[in-house]
């Protein structure tokens, strides 16, 4: 292919082409290794906001979810985005599946829709390394597609528990990103809240048919942190997982009234569309 007489311009062109190609290939390899860190550097650090711990909070109207009794790792870390290194296996809390959020680093996201299309949410979070801060960020509804146009997610009645100790929040509703700093490094915590304004009725469909979007409130964690999703309720019809290409694919498994997403989703794309049949007003 490179036979024939080589002029200086040819040599320069080929050398430049080879160098550019090799640089891009090296960047590709580097990005596959350090991509998330690079992106985090480019987007800047999360803002800090300190909240104090308190003695008690009222119980939340959430499905019964036993708190994890696991203590944080002995090695504290200040980085809010630890790696997803697997830790030693632990027993899952009673009634909950083993996996991300219970026995492995990750999040177990549990949702139960009510008759008004709101979701009672519980997030069990287990990180590979303890952190001193975590970010709470409302759902990015853009990735849900046009079916949920008009939804404006807001999380209210937020309760945060770290290592079984309640954490008092300065604001217990989240409509824009906010940081929470723990008094002590923790790797295991639980968030309960009501997710509102995420359900939109589906026009030209069965009466009561609606779509809702759910996803983790906890942010500032590694983008590849696995998220398992469980949705409970007799009004639930199906689950769909939007992808990077904005296609919504059915991804439900299990039996009604308890459906799970059929695979762990990486945190960066953990958004699930719930198809609902909202009941008639009583």
């Amino acid at each position: 292919m490179l036979s024939g007489t080589w002029s200086r311009a040819d040599i320069f062109r080929r050398a430049l082409g080879a160098v550019c190609t090799l640089v891009l290939l090296s960047l590709a390899i580097g990005y596959s290794q350090y991509g998330p860190g690079l992106s985090a550097i480019m987007t800047g650090p999360a803002p800090n906001a300190t909240v104090a711990a308190t003695e008690s909070t009222e119980p939340a109207p959430t499905p019964p979810t036993p708190s994890s009794s696991e203590a944080p790792s002995a090695t504290p870390a200040s980085s809010p985005t630890p790696s997803v290194t697997r830790t030693a296996p632990v027993k899952p809390p009673k009634g909950l599946p083993a996996g991300p959020g219970t026995t492995e680093p990750g999040i177990l996201l549990m949702a139960a829709p009510d008759a008004d299309g709101r979701f009672t949410m519980t997030e069990l979070v287990r990180l590979a390394e303890p952190v001193t801060a975590v970010q709470l960020r409302p759902l990015n509804i853009q990735a849900a597609g046009p079916g949920l146009r008009g939804a404006k997610p807001i999380a209210t009645d937020i309760e945060l528990t770290a290592d079984e100790q309640p954490v008092r929040l300065s604001r217990n509703r989240v409509s824009r990103p906010q940081s929470v700093t723990f008094d002590a490094p923790t790797a295991v915590f639980e968030v309960r809240y009501m997710l509102r304004r995420v359900t939109v009725r589906t026009p030209n469909s069965s009466p009561g048919r609606a779509l809702g979007a759910i996803g983790p409130l906890v942010a500032g964690v590694p983008g590849d942190l696995p998220v398992d999703v469980v949705v409970m309720g007799r009004s639930v019809r199906n689950l769909g997982c939007p992808s990077s290409e904005m296609v919504r694919r059915p991804c439900a498994s299990g039996q009604l009234p308890r459906l799970t997403v059929n695979r762990s989703l990486p945190h960066r794309t953990a958004l699930v569309i719930v198809q609902l049949d909202l009941p008639r007003p009583q």
Partner: protein
């Protein structure tokens, strides 16, 4: 930006990327499998250059739109795998841009053929990695199906565009006897692969036959199949016209053949096929947007 406008913008960029891929990969495949001597044809070189430019544009525009207009975090858009795939694609495009002059210096055989095939495979691979096949249920099956689909698209649609670019101006009618049978063989295999992989992918995406036939996604798949069938039918007529022309070329003066009604019909059929090919790419872009709920 509203989600609808965002989807429209992303859909348009997808079409740009698909057209770029079809032009570049199709021309390279055409040179490699059908007409290695055609590397000196200026129209084909132009197709490869336009394809490269469109692919570079699509590669940069998609993440830029998602971040700038969609408000998605950069880390969400450029995932380690997705970002690496884009960089690998850019590397293949840069190599194409710098070495195309060397590639077309001699017939596309031997090392040149290997280079062309590797470029096509790398670009196709980068598209597969970014598709929803990765991470889908039955991942291996989905990835194999999408890979076959993407490569067969380059061979068939890209080859068709290249063939049309050569034959519609009626400058190379003397090549009819050689090109049409070779391309017909490539097209036949490609269509079979497209049908099989398309059905498999549609079933995997929809989550089963029932979900497929009852969803908007299934409707768009049906439209695409209809358009595809139209193209296959047109291809059949095209082959007939080409065979007649090739026969006349042997028995009649070249100028007479060039201005004959048969040559006109062949050009018309091929032009229509190319237009429908663009329709198929647009339908494919729609398929990515439509979701089975």
């Amino acid at each position: 930006m509203s989600p609808v406008l965002l989807e429209v913008a992303l859909g348009l960029i997808r079409i740009v990327t698909y057209v770029g891929y079809v032009l570049l990969a199709g021309t390279f495949t055409f040179w490699s499998l059908v007409w290695p001597e055609g590397r000196s044809d200026r129209r084909l070189v132009r197709l490869a250059v336009i394809g490269t430019v469109l692919l570079v544009l699509g590669t940069f525009a998609d993440p830029a739109i998602r971040v700038a207009l969609g408000g998605q975090p950069l880390a969400d858009v450029l995932t380690p795998v997705g970002g690496s795939a884009l960089l690998v694609r850019l590397a293949a495009l840069v190599a194409t841009a710098f070495f195309l002059v060397d590639l077309i210096r001699s017939p596309i055989t031997g090392g040149r053929r290997v280079f062309a095939v590797v470029v096509v495979a790398v670009i196709a691979g980068s598209m597969v990695v970014q598709s929803d096949a990765v991470g889908a249920p039955r991942e291996v099956l989905a990835v194999v199906a999408i890979s076959g689909h993407v490569l067969a698209t380059a061979a068939w649609l890209g080859g068709l565009v290249a063939l049309a670019a050569v034959l519609i101006p009626r400058d190379h009618l003397e090549e009819l006897e050689r090109l049409v049978p070779r391309f017909s063989l490539v097209a036949l295999f490609s269509v079979i692969i497209l049908l099989v992989t398309g059905i498999v992918d549609a079933l995997v995406v929809a989550g089963g036959l029932t979900a497929l036939v009852t969803s908007p996604y299934g409707l768009v798949v049906l439209i695409k199949i209809g358009v595809l069938a139209g193209m296959v039918l047109l291809g059949h007529f095209g082959r007939r016209y080409a065979a007649r022309l090739a026969f006349r070329r042997v028995h009649q003066p070249a100028e007479l053949v060039k201005n004959s009604r048969g040559a006109h019909n062949l050009a018309l059929v091929m032009g229509t096929e190319v237009v429908i090919a663009v329709g198929i790419l647009a339908t494919t872009s729609m398929l990515v947007m439509v979701a089975p709920s």
